[in-house]
């Protein structure tokens, strides 16, 4: 029996792309793909979150808890309220 290899189909796309695009031995095949272009693509991929759906598949869901991006969260409203109170106290006439 071969050694068991744990299922890693859940490997993140970012982890896989980083490896198959950037690493691995480079052998000249008969069909030439300009590697510089592929490297540019990799950089682009690092910078983008392609779409909300794609990002969710990749396990990226931080906007769901980011108050700036989520009106359901009360955090932003509370922060605004706190700042407004602070401003009022600063603007109040001093004794």
């Amino acid at each position: 029996m071969p050694a068991p290899v744990p299922a890693t189909s859940a490997d993140s796309l970012a982890d896989i792309l980083e490896r198959v695009l950037d690493k691995g031995i480079v052998i000249a095949g008969d069909i030439q793909i300009n590697l510089l272009d592929i490297e540019l693509l990799t950089i682009k991929l690092r910078l983008i979150v392609a779409s909300i759906d794609k990002a969710k598949e990749m396990g990226i869901d931080w906007w769901e808890t980011d108050p700036a991006l989520n009106s359901d969260s009360g955090a932003l409203a509370r922060e605004n309220q706190r700042l407004r109170e602070r401003l009022n106290s600063l603007e109040a006439p001093r004794d």
């Binding site: 071969p2 744990p6 890693t8 792309l17 198959v20 691995g24 008969d30 069909i31 793909i33 272009d37």
Partner: protein
Amino acid sequence: MTEGLGLWAYGVLDGDVVGPSTPLGVDPAHEVELIRHVGLAVIVSPVPLDDFGERSLHESLEDLDRLEILARVHNEVLREALRQGAVVPFRICTIFESAAGVKEMLARQRSRLTAALERLQGRAEWGVKAYAVGGASHGAGGSEPASGTDYLRQKLADRNAVVMTQQALDTAVETLHARLRERAADAVLNPPHHRELSGPTKEMVLNAAYLVADVDADGFGALVADLARRHRSDGLELELTGPWPAYNFSEPVEP
């Protein structure tokens, strides 16, 4: 070879291996097969050149959905091959027009590939990522400043606290990497993923690959778990992935 088909090459194995357990290739109409020559074997699968010519491939690579399929299948075939022994993974989009072209490449690259395979024998790549969770703490918070001077003093204290935290974090990451490298035959540090992939509450501070002996794979996993416990108080979260085909260690190195 059927007219209009090329061969997508995944990687190289020792020529004595039995062969892959016939998973489907990047073109799902075709299974993967082995081409043996000069004591080596290349895993390939036929691909229609209409879809896998230079121009079509460029378009495919720009389409994230298609790229994902190519990348996942390429990786999956290599991971399957890893069960049989060492494998030197090719970067994706290594395509040959015929089996003769593959054999010619093997003859030409024989010493380089053999050396790379020898280095990988009985070893696999493991990925370890560390995240700083919650970001640097901004001072102790607490009392409201009583005056403008007080406010500035508090600001300065906060800034120093952040700097200290950053230094402590760097030290923790260095220690962590040193401990893991000790346990591995080789190690590679890669740039951390972009912040947008990890989110504002988590910052990747280590993105490393380690070449670990298969017999020590469990020990390496236990070490990662142990380090994760130790460094939790530093605000570090660890993630272990693998075993991977040795993408980060596929070039032969001087002994």
